[in-house]
């Protein structure tokens, strides 16, 4: 006798796979909707998702633990690896937290360069995301345009920091290097091309019948859910919450820059995509402002004690910054030795990609799951620090 409704045991629904009504399906750990390895254990009925369990652990890197055995300077090359597509937020937060514990202030020019680096990486991260987002709805052309353009932004990073992905530019104390010669002109060219690309993406994505029919009304986050799930960043802003750490809690030189918080109200995938698209324009504008306002001269680095045996005074701190996914934070406990006692990384993907996703996919169909996951902008590496 097959029950019409699944049984409830200990408050949880139990799906009887033998009933032939439900099927268990794994999405991942490798599939194109995920920037990193993570899998979704779906219970489906027909092509409808009735339950979802997220599984992480495929990256098994344990950076937080690793850093407890590393001197502070040796954590610097590690932190950027915590989030592959947007490593700079990690670099900044680790540096800022360490500086706070050491009681060191960073020169003004270094602060401008850090802001510049962060905005540039925001742009690169969003370009990668929009590539995934459009690709997940079958629009591979836009994906290729975006990823190709991201590579041009990576060229800028290569010139500025010496590396394309793991820039390792923001070191505790300041930054590693001034703007190279001709960099501003090159940047202007890349920004112009990116703006053009964004306009084209608007035409072919936001006015696309397929995209519209799938994204509108998909994965709606209601304003009530924001605090319930701890939703931050563009995911919250697309549901009408005007929250942005860059404005609410200005760090670096954001209080010198002119920008407004971009919001939408629908809270669905379409709205989230639109908010991020607007924020790409915002980043471009911020980069231009920074290049205009940044002091031309001045030191870029404050001397630290000897990094080979630097002891950080006992204390603890939490610093946060607005990443492309929202509030990103570093909590560091120092115990007065050469090694950090504890570093905890708060990646927004943790709440978005696990708790929220598990509930949002239910009721949707299989084909939409990875589009939904991308619309939450989940980077599994920052879940598994």
């Amino acid at each position: 006798m097959i029950d019409k409704y699944p049984k409830i045991v200990d408050g949880k629904s139990v799906y009887d796979l033998d009933s032939q009504k439900y099927l268990k399906m794994w999405q991942g750990p490798q599939h194109p909707g995920v920037t990193g390895n993570m899998s979704l254990e779906l219970i489906i009925s027909g092509d409808q998702v009735v339950a979802c369990n997220t599984h992480v652990g495929y990256l098994h890197r344990g950076f937080e633990k690793l850093m407890e055995r590393r001197r502070y300077i040796n954590c610097f090359p590690i932190v950027c690896r915590i989030c592959v597509p947007e490593p700079d937020t990690n670099e900044y937060l680790f540096a800022a937290a360490t500086e706070e514990l050491l009681g060191i202030t960073v020169p003004e020019k270094a602060q401008w360069l850090r802001t510049l680096d962060l905005e540039l990486s925001r742009l690169a991260s969003f370009l990668m995301w929009i590539g995934g987002q459009s690709g997940s709805f079958g629009s591979g052309t836009v994906a290729q345009w975006a990823i190709a353009n991201r590579d041009f932004v990576l060229d800028l990073f290569e010139e500025l920091s010496g590396a394309r992905i793991y820039h390792m530019y923001m070191i505790p104390g300041g930054v590693r290097g001034n703007l190279p010669e001709g960099w501003i002109e090159h940047t202007e060219k890349v920004l112009n091309n990116t703006e053009k690309l964004l306009d084209e993406i608007y035409i072919v994505l936001f006015n696309n019948a397929v995209f519209k029919s799938r994204a509108v009304g998909m994965g709606v986050i209601t304003p009530e859910m924001i605090d319930q799930y701890g939703i931050v960043g563009p995911n919250a802003r697309a549901s009408g919450a005007a929250r942005d750490i860059r404005k609410d809690n200005p760090y670096l030189v954001y209080d010198h820059l002119d920008f407004k918080i971009e919001t939408e109200t629908a809270g669905d995938t379409y709205a989230r995509t639109l908010v991020r698209w607007k924020e790409m324009h915002q980043s471009i504008s911020l980069i231009r402002q920074i290049l205009k306002l940044m002091p031309k001269l001045g030191p870029i680095y404050t001397k630290l004690p000897n990094v080979l045996h630097m002891k950080v005074p006992a204390g603890e701190t939490y610093v946060k910054a607005e990443s492309t996914r929202g509030e990103y934070g570093y909590y560091i406990v120092a115990d007065g030795t050469e090694f950090p006692r504890k570093i905890t990384v708060r990646g927004p993907s943790y709440s978005h990609g696990m708790a929220l996703l598990e509930d949002l996919v239910v009721g949707g169909n299989i084909a939409d799951t990875h589009g939904l996951m991308l619309s939450l902008h989940t980077y599994p590496p920052e879940i598994e620090r």
């Binding site: 090359p77 390792m168 072919v204």
Partner: protein
Amino acid sequence: MNLKDVLSPLYVWKRAFEKPYTIRTEKEPRPGADRYRGFHQNDTEKCIGCGSCAEICQNESIDMIPVSETKDGDSGLRPRIDYGRCCWCALCVDICPSSSLTMSNAYTWIEEGLDKDTRETFCFTPGVDEKPWDNDEKGYRRPDGYDLSLLERVEMEELSPAERVTSFIEMVKGFSKEQAKREADRCIECGICTATCPGHMDIPGYIRAIREDDIEKGIEILYKTNPLPGVCGRICTRRCEDVCSLSLRGEAVSIRWLKRYLTDSAEAGKYRDLLHDEVVSSGKKVAIVGTGPGGLSAAYYLLRMGHEVEIFEQNEAAGGMLRYGIPEYRLPYGSLDNDINFIIELGAKLHLNTKVGKDISFDKLYKEFDAIFTSVGLTDSYKIGIEGEELPGVTTGLTVLKAVTMGQDPKLGDHIVVIGGGNVAMDAARTARHLGVDVTVVYRRRLEDMPADSDEIKEAIEENVEFITQGIPLKIEEGANGKLNFIWGKAEMVDNGSGKRPSPVLIEGSREVMEVTKVIAAIGQGANYGWLEGETTKQVKLGKRNIEADRWGKTDDPKIYVGGDMFNKTADAISAIADGHRSARAIDSYLAGEEYPKDRF
């Protein structure tokens, strides 16, 4: 949904007519950016093998591999990079004290040899194993305005030249705790200094102890290789600082002053508690001739090894050249006494005013003791070799220094001339300045050729010592009112080819006269081995200056050992201390019936 939504995606076709991003056939490889962190390059000539790169590497991808002989200031090791581990963070480039390690902007490495061990395929020693990017101009270098190394010294406070010359108070004030910790923080613990120090002191070790504010541990480390740290903390020739890897781009760590800080911070009476260990008496007796740094060092280590030690000193106080050759403003007698008293406290029997060869014969020592260590130094000042040298107003630098130490008036008058450019000349000249005498130093070569310590020369100039360089003494005549006429001639420097010191040649007909009250010769000292000659020392080979012995200081007679200036060529306190330590170990083995100590020194 409307018609526009269906049509607008067709806009993508517009791009079909654009030039593609991808390059279909690669003609020229795309160069990396100017700052690209590509493969490592190492200028092996500049590299000193300090290993800072390996130290900072968080992936432990750098091993230090021996590629050449170890020299002073060069470990002979070079970094080998394991590209299976490297993460291209370039911290190794940032920390490199010699700036020899850089990264090229090359990012492709194609090499045959896949059949080889993977480890070999991935590993290479930049600069040693030839690679196509070795001479690439572009790539990551340490950026301007950013430097992890701490290149500037914590300034040492000193008395001003005007204050200095009014007394014999020690001119260097010493570090405060905060200053010492800050200076100690600069050390990168490469250990190049340890290899260069004649005594192979564990310099990074005691600097670490300062950083950790563990004075007792620091003292313990000091005494492992140097029983006169209070002395060395003030007057050491500090070859460690000459090779300090930080000195390649900045200022060397103030190793000498840090050592001084340690001894100044420890209570003198506490040494015994700090360095406690049970000594088992061996029942053997060792005689030590001379109480200079060599003799004192040998005495300390022999005592710690359980031997009975008797020391013979011809003067009325121990210390040798440390006491009678070094002025009080550089080495206060109190500091010297601290170090010596501790050694005497350990049980050494000290015979003062006892000259071997006069008050007691060497043969007697030879019969009564199981071994003899001699370290009497070079005591006979060289003659200038000019007419008038025998006049009563002509004396030597050592005579003046000794007289001042003994509290006698050296009767210098109001204007003296000092001949020579070594440390004794500087000490004599500055001592005279501290006594209020006008001083002219006459040296044969240029200022930069002077063998004296550069600080000494600088401080002499600050104290208004007048320097005449390229001046050759010609004659000393009796002048009016009991004064002397010192006659000298100007010299020109003649090149002796590369690598050789240019020599001064008198300019024909040049003749200057200077009226002085005293002429002080300080052009070096030689040995006097008259006291050694006897029936028992036939086997010992006496050189012109040095006594022949093996590296342990053992002469052809295995019972007789030598050290200090009469043995080594470097002729400084730390070398003598090292000799004393080495010979003590050799004597210990000899007394135990073994030929040599088993482990290396």
